[in-house]
């Protein structure tokens, strides 16, 4: 890749925006650059970044998953309940991931075998899971989570939160996966031209099932991190999380039309969303404007994407 190409890439634009915002917020607020604020920012980001790995793949195939917020809520309830019952950490980790996998697999099956549009499938799941959550918690909270688990959420190594380290490792692994494994290539092929992928011998159902199931698993893990970080689970945990994840992916340059995108781009997108949210809190901007800014950013980047794609689809 030549230098010119790099600067034209979406990742560069997003990186630039992050730097500019970071400078603005550190000049206008006292707390932005503080260790506690930056740590807090990174811990919050970790869950979004991990979930965005799966969402990137889903969107590359031309799909979408709006049920991730509810899945996050459900897996944190499962993790929270087991924690309160003093199960070993390994069991809780497994249970949180399995919860996510279960719902992700369900989404994937309906999209892959049922050939139902992903937005409909996952919108249905969003509501079903949220309703199950109400049944399970009955309006109560889970709080007072034992400290053993909270190291995942609050522990640090070399000054960086453990959860962020985990996110980075997963991002590295899945970046490699997407570029170098046949299944990763199949994901791009399906998003480019699903008919051509079928004729070229790509197993469509397996590919589609995989991306939704993987997203469920990763979100399940993010749910555990959430419990570990906050120590609290409520019935509305994870509400709106799906928009944050989709925003990160779309801002990071993954085409909503499918066919292209990178996980690293989504990480940068997650940073951008995280910094905006964080800075607005520090500036005492009313919480409602946060949606305005993030919504506008999503629209701008999708419009840029769609306009650019006009010459590319043949």
């Amino acid at each position: 890749m030549s230098r010119g190409q790099f600067f034209r890439k979406r990742e560069f634009t997003v990186l630039g925006l992050i730097v500019v915002l970071a400078i603005i917020f550190s000049l206008t607020t006292e707390r932005f650059l503080s260790v506690s604020n930056l740590t807090n920012l990174l811990v919050q980001l970790a869950g979004t970044a991990i979930s965005a790995i799966g969402m990137t793949m889903v969107i590359i195939t031309g799909g979408i998953d709006v049920s991730v917020g509810s899945i996050l809520g459900m897996s944190s309830v499962v993790a929270g309940k087991l924690l309160m019952a003093n199960f070993p950490v390994v069991v809780i980790l497994g249970a949180a991931i399995a919860t996510g996998l279960l719902f992700g697999f369900f989404n994937g099956s309906l999209v892959a075998y049922g050939k139902i549009p992903p937005i409909i499938v996952t919108l249905g799941m969003l509501n079903i899971i949220r309703s199950l959550l109400f049944q399970l918690l009955g309006g109560r909270w889970i709080s007072g989570v034992p400290p053993a688990i909270r190291v995942i959420g609050l522990g640090k190594w070399l000054g960086i939160p453990i959860s962020m380290w985990i996110a980075l490792i997963l991002i590295l692994f899945f970046t490699y996966f997407l570029n170098s494994r046949p299944l990763g290539r199949a994901i791009y092929a399906v998003g480019n031209n699903i008919e051509a992928a079928r004729v070229s011998g790509v197993n469509l159902t397996r590919t589609i099932l995989f991306v939704y199931a993987l997203t469920g698993m990763l979100v399940g893990f993010a749910g555990l991190i959430y419990v570990a970080r906050t120590g609290i689970v409520q019935t509305n945990t994870g509400t709106g999380f799906e928009l944050e994840v989709i925003a990160a992916v779309v801002l990071g340059g993954t085409s909503i039309l499918g066919g292209k995108g990178t996980i690293v781009g989504s990480l940068l997108g997650a940073f951008l969303v995280g910094i905006i949210k964080n800075g607005m809190v520090l500036l005492n901007v009313p919480a409602l404007s946060e949606g305005l800014v993030i919504g506008a950013l999503i629209l701008i980047s999708v419009v840029i994407d769609v306009v650019r794609a006009r010459g590319e689809r043949i």
Partner: protein
């Protein structure tokens, strides 16, 4: 009879290919004027110009003796020129009445649609043609193709059309529907409507046409009253003296067939199809679009399933339920339309090529060995002379010929034993075309069994060791290279049964 539409000296070219060369054509009112010619003769281009879908580069069009510019299908329709396509273009969810009046609804004084008046008018139109009209309120999608056509004819009458173009109207009609259509055409003619009738079925033309215009290579080769011409003469003009320089062929390498297809049938698509493919030979498949050629090869490749009949590959009966399985048995299929089934537009050339053989270049932990992938990619770029800056260049930015070569490379990458090529040179420039031809011949000489479907007769005659001709889902002719003539192949493709060698 007066001339209602006249085309004078019309030419049209598409990027270097001249589709029409100074065509003259005149249509009288009250006549059925048949337009015949091989694929690529220029019929569709002429029709598109008359119906406003294309503008001519040169030449004039006169309608009712006035020079006119027809720059949109809508304008053509409003002037009184309607087209009824083979597969009617309709709004499936809307009723027949709504389809007829879409965009020019009859309104009440205060602006709302006068449903009753529309329905009455439609009934009157149908009654005047002696047709039933009980289905007028049904959604179009639930009507048969034959009834949909009738609705479009009624629509043409609602516009008081003086010219109605029928583009292969009978290709997908039942016998009964065809008879009814002929009745209507006769009635339209008596009303003074000028009818342009395109069909590959010559027997129909002799039944209903008054005159016939034969086209070839973008030129008009003859205009005749139907009484002064016979079938052989028309076929001769359609075929012309084809200057085909057949390439040198060595022919099959073994008497043991690689692939045998036995009595393969699929309802509504093809029936009782049998043929064999030998190693080292090019088996040409000729037939008009819709003759079932593509359906047969897609069935072999696992994209469709037959109702009955067998596919025997290397001596064993096989059932491929997906392309993946067919590929595991070393069968490759280059699809007809690279845009729909071939290319991944925003992936690089390298990724486009390697997608079919990634599993063969895996290293430890199931990782694609990128060096090997790059080497193979570069090898194909060199061998097929693909003009691309590098392997990362996204394929949408390449020319049609180079895109086609990328798709071919993808299938060569699977090192197939049977290579099925569906229109391998469609939409490809002349230079790439001859490169692709040489490559195909070379691959056959290496021992591959090649099935090559093409709508272009010269290509079929140039390349094939044997030619299978199909018409409406059935094999109507099998010719050896030495004995195949353009006339015979066209005869078989237009429905005459001419199986000369059965093997």
């Amino acid at each position: 009879m007066e001339t209602v539409l006249e085309v004078r000296g019309v030419s049209k070219s598409f990027g270097g290919v001249q589709a029409l060369k100074g065509v003259n054509f005149a249509l009288r009112s009250g006549e059925v004027h048949a337009l015949v010619g091989e694929n690529g003769a220029g019929k569709s281009t002429l029709i598109k110009i008359i119906s406003g879908a294309l503008l001519p580069d040169r030449g004039e069009i006169f309608y009712l003796d006035q020079p006119v510019t027809i720059d949109s299908p809508r304008k053509a329709q409003e002037m009184g020129i309607s087209t009824v396509y083979q597969e009617p273009l309709v709004y499936n969810e809307l009723s027949a009445v709504e389809n007829i009046f879409l965009g020019r609804e009859i309104r009440k004084p205060w602006g709302s649609i006068d449903w009753k008046a529309q329905e009455e008018k439609t009934k009157a139109l149908f009654a005047s043609l002696g047709l039933p009209y009980h289905f007028l309120r049904e959604p179009m999608g639930e009507l048969s193709v034959g009834l949909q056509q009738l609705v479009l004819i009624a629509k043409a009458l609602a516009y008081e059309s003086k010219v109605i173009i029928f583009d292969e109207p009978t290709a997908i009609l039942t016998e009964h529907e065809t008879e009814r259509l002929f009745d209507i055409i006769t009635k339209l003619r008596m009303r003074g409507v000028g009818i342009i009738y395109i069909s590959h079925r010559l027997e129909e033309i002799f039944r209903i046409a008054d005159r016939v215009t034969v086209m070839r290579d973008g030129e008009v080769r003859g205009v005749f009253s139907i009484g002064e011409v016979n079938r052989d003469r028309i076929v001769e003009l359609m075929a012309g003296r084809l200057l085909v320089e057949a390439i040198e062929r060595k022919g099959k390498k073994s008497d043991a067939p690689l692939l045998v297809v036995e009595n393969l049938s699929k309802r509504g698509r093809f029936s009782d199809v049998s043929f064999q493919v030998f190693p080292g030979e090019i088996l040409g498949f000729f037939g008009l679009v819709g003759s079932g050629r593509t359906d047969i090869v897609q069935t072999i490749f696992g994209l469709m399933r037959q109702d009955s009949g067998n596919i025997i590959y290397q001596g064993k009966t096989v059932h491929f339920s997906s392309p993946e399985e067919a590929m595991q048995s070393d069968i490759a299929y280059l699809p007809e339309d690279r845009k729909v089934q071939g290319l991944f537009p925003i992936l690089g050339v390298g990724y486009n090529i390697s997608i079919t053989f990634l599993k063969e270049i895996l290293g430890s932990f199931g990782v694609v060995r990128e060096k090997k992938e790059r080497n193979r990619g570069e090898e194909y770029v060199r061998r097929l002379n693909i003009k691309t800056p590098n392997l990362k260049t996204k394929v949408y930015s390449l020319s049609g010929g180079n895109q086609q070569k990328v798709v071919i490379a993808k299938w060569l990458g699977t090192t197939p034993r049977v290579l099925i090529l569906d229109e391998p040179t469609r939409g490809v420039d002349v230079a790439s075309k001859s490169e692709i031809h040489n490559l195909i011949a070379h691959l056959a000489d290496e021992g591959l069994g090649i099935v090559m479907i093409s709508s272009e007769l010269p290509e079929i005659l140039k390349m094939s060791d044997r030619i299978v001709v199909m018409h409406e889902g059935k094999i109507t002719g099998v010719f050896d290279r030495a004995e195949a003539t353009a006339e015979d192949v066209i005869r078989a493709a237009t429905g005459e049964r001419l199986i000369s060698v059965e093997r």
